[in-house]
């Protein structure tokens, strides 16, 4: 039987999202701090690759998951106005990042719920 990695992957992503949320909260709290540079965590890509779930591609037209993962990466420095005090926090960016995190977290928890329900349905006769 193949090991079921979904729960492991989901909990890893949930952890990554919560850490990212902490970083965003720090950015928002420091929105008026002189000389503060906005921070972000490294993309989930590294964690994804360590877990080793890959989509199978049998045709060259199939989209590869590496492309999908690259789209998660945020470009933090590009397009951000640098304030004279050296503070690079863009409040609108941070707030939208926060709601993005919430959305991903919602997807994550509902996936876990669904998989759990599926497994229970299998176990029940």
């Amino acid at each position: 039987m193949q090991p079921i990695q979904i729960f492991k992957l989901a909990s890893q992503q949930a952890e990554w999202l919560t850490v990212r949320h902490t970083v965003v909260a720090g950015n928002i709290a420091n929105v008026n701090t002189p000389g503060y540079a906005a921070k972000d965590v490294e993309p989930f890509k590294a964690v994804m690759e360590a877990t080793g779930t890959k989509m199978a591609a049998t045709h060259s037209r199939h989209f590869s998951d590496s492309k999908l993962r690259d789209s998660i990466r945020s470009n933090e420095i590009n397009g951000i106005a640098v304030h004279p005090s050296g503070n690079t926090v863009n409040l609108a960016n941070e707030v939208s990042k926060g709601s993005g995190i919430k959305r991903e977290y919602e997807i994550n928890t509902s996936i876990v719920k669904t998989v759990n329900r599926m497994m229970l349905a299998t176990v029940r006769k």
């Binding site: 850490v19 902490t22 909260a25 709290a29 420091n30 919430k102």
Partner: protein, 138 residues
Amino acid sequence: MDPLSLSSRIAASGLHAQETRLRIVSENLANAQSTGDAPGADPYRRKTVSFSSYLDNATGASRVKVQRLGLDNSDFTVNFDPSHPAANEKGMVKMPNVNPLIELADMRETNRSYEANLQTIKQTRELVSLTLGLLRNT
């Protein structure tokens, strides 16, 4: 500590810093007309507030705190009012270097930052309730 409760603590530190800032703004506004009481005495000097981020070593989170309360050393505006108790021999009275427009702009900015921090706390609560929702029987 788990990152989500850390988020709300960071946001709370932001709220606290913004509250201090709002206090300073209201002090400045309240004292916008506070002159000295002796002839030639200095009036109220505008206060400033500066934030700094500090790294919480136990958790690695960057919280914010009020670094120091400073004084604005710009020049006082001078009005001609010979009947005023603080007027000097030429009849000039030094008025505080408080510009209400700057203070109001500062207040708006404080408001916005405070709102953003509140939003963070709200969001944290939603994330926690999503996690707790996993335990719920559906």
